[in-house]
Symmetry: C2
Subunit: 360 residues, 2 copies
DNA sequence: GCACATATTGGAAGCGCTTCCAACAATGAG
DNA sequence: CTCATTGTTGGAAGCGCTTCCAATATGTGC
């Protein structure tokens, strides 16, 4: 109450309260609103001197553009959907989706795009049809597809037909003609793990793959094999199993692997959760890690630091991937033409922790 | 190119393309824009019949309000800051912050509030001053404070003085007069864990607390003691240590605890990460879990499912907390008056997994 | 039946910004 | 020195919505 009174008194006295608008800046700088807008948007055709004046006024007032107004006026109100393959309220491998979405929403907020999240059960028969239905229903301008949906050429073609631009997170090489595939260099990442392990002196390997259809995960395996080949090791040096990215499958498959190929010295897992399962299986089998068995994960989720020993893994910039996806989609919509197909490669990083070490 | 041509042809033929606006709905329903707005916002004074007509038109066109325009027109453009205590790019206990922020950004997008994230190092001397500076600089209308900042009365008072509404996530009872404290019933949650463990037949307990100043974590300890008292057990039944929420501290303190009080049968940890560390310490000490030692976590982050055995823990609806915080702050700003101090309690849930079991 | 209160509708202004278009200044070529 | 070109500015319309206010319809008590 008292505050209100003070505010009103302030207003009366001519002092502005509330957030400054572009007109306040224009008034203070002594130019037209249009000119301020040009400066704010880094457009050409403003004299340096004038630009400076505007900038000073902006600084002085602590002015920030109102994103909502900007987007409304610029008629670039966008709606982008983010399609998750599984519900991270119930799924253990939730960090992947969660980080991706956080990056996307953050970017979206800054760009004024409205992000709509859909969770589609990847095991459903009609998953693709469901996605199409949801997206048309939402009237989305673009969609971010997470694996394995981004690897489905049929779906991508349908969406393109509907005029919905797409970005396929961790999309494989086979969809690069159909959509923008965003991800790390999976081949290189697999190769990096191979080189790391070979450099440590290992010669016999186990590999816990991910689900079929997740092309990027397959590509990592190819990269790994390439590293082996370059070191003069044949494919016979690696025994593999196919998991489903869960802790449980990592546990089970590692037990099976250890039983069938007791001589493997290093075990590569397609994500951190499975590596955590592998860790447990190894502990149970009485193996010391990394002395008896080196283990690697993939993704560098928080998991990799709360297991013992902490996992050597590949860091993927998940939040940045989400953000980039939104940026590209927004830009493509602004330019009027869809998102150009191709590939956007982000940097990955081998993070060496204590789950790997040189052979004794 | 070809698509453009088609679109232009469509437009020429009188068919509307692009997203329908409120005027399209009004035209189709044969009412004024104002009336549609009223229906959309559930305002009174619209005849049932008319309301129905509008709803049909909305449905038919697949109309969705443009949040940006709505907020601009409703002059409720809001800026809310989210203050994290630590950077979850580098911190292991990142899921807590990450889930909170995701809930907040999602809600923010729907409500048209702009969420600004700040990361403040809680160990810095000038952390509070930094927060104040950042918030004034941003011209925020509200702020969401995560522990331990939400427990700092001095800071809360300063922010209120600046007219910045606050919500303290997991704020303790001592700040309920100064801000809206949002969280679960920590006392009850601690009590629940106590009852669970006592019900399983345990009589000697270890407790790994969190950092001092995190009031909610302290309250859980009090609740736990209350459960003990109700069961006729004295405070002497529990040996405790103070950790810092990291895996490492859980590991170290559990080792110390096991050395000093070898007879403890159940170990309660203030978060999942420390429980994961405790798990490892117990494994190392040759304890079987849960037979020799029951262990509980807190938060129900994904961690609790990728350790072995999976952790019995308390589920906190983190994403919902973030969302609620934004909603309340937005509502308070809309109403003109700040956020009323008090407490907003969300439901927690004891999730029983395999890290606890009845005494043999 | 009337005067009045109340419920229901529509018209129009305007949120803070971008962008189109017109006006004018400065520059260079002829 | 003129005309055309380019660079620099401002005016005004309008993005899709809410909300104030006025206008009309409906209902109430006498």
């Amino acid at each position: 109450m008292r505050d209100d009174g003070q505010l009103i008194a302030l207003e009366r006295s001519g002092v502005r309260v509330g957030k400054p608008t572009i007109d306040d800046v224009a008034a203070l700088a002594g130019v037209a609103r249009t000119t301020v807008s040009r400066v704010l948007n880094n457009q050409p055709n403003v004299r340096g001197e004038v630009r400076e004046k505007v900038l000073v006024a902006v600084e002085k007032l602590g002015y920030r553009v109102n994103v909502q107004a900007r987007n409304l006026a610029g008629r670039r109100t966008m709606r982008i959907a983010l399609i998750h393959a599984s519900d991270f309220d119930t799924e253990p491998n939730s960090y992947f989706s969660s980080a991706l979405e956080l990056g996307a929403t953050r970017a979206g907020a800054g760009l004024g795009v409205q992000l709509i999240t859909h969770v589609i059960n990847q095991n459903d028969q009609g998953a693709a049809a469901q996605i199409v239905a949801d997206l048309s229903d939402d009237q989305c301008d673009g969609a971010i597809l997470t694996p394995p949906f981004g690897d489905d050429p049929q779906l991508l073609r349908t969406l393109r037909g509907l005029g919905i631009a797409t970005v396929a997170i961790a999309g494989g090489a086979d969809v690069e003609k159909l959509t923008l595939a965003m991800g790390i260099d999976d081949f290189q990442a697999g190769y990096d793990i191979g080189v790391h392990l070979i450099g440590l002196g290992h010669k016999r390997f186990g590999f816990v793959k991910g689900l079929q259809g997740h092309t990027s995960a397959e590509t990592r395996f190819d990269g790994f094999l390439a590293a082996l080949a370059d070191a003069g090791l044949s494919e016979a040096a690696v025994t593999w199993r196919r998991g489903n990215f869960t802790f449980r499958s990592g546990l089970d498959l590692t037990q099976s692997l250890l039983a069938d190929a007791p001589d493997i010295a290093a075990l590569v897992c397609a994500n951190d959760d499975m590596a955590a399962g592998a860790l447990l299986a190894a502990h149970k089998a009485g193996k010391r890690i990394p002395e008896d068995l080196a283990i690697t994960g993939f993704d560098d989720t928080p998991v990799s630091e709360i297991v013992w020993p902490p996992l050597t893994t590949i860091h993927q910039p998940l939040r940045r991937m989400g953000a980039r996806a939104v940026e590209l989609l927004a830009a493509s919509a602004a330019s009027g033409k869809g998102c150009a197909p191709g590939r956007e490669v982000l940097e990955h990083q081998l993070v060496v922790r204590e789950s790997t070490a040189a052979t004794p």
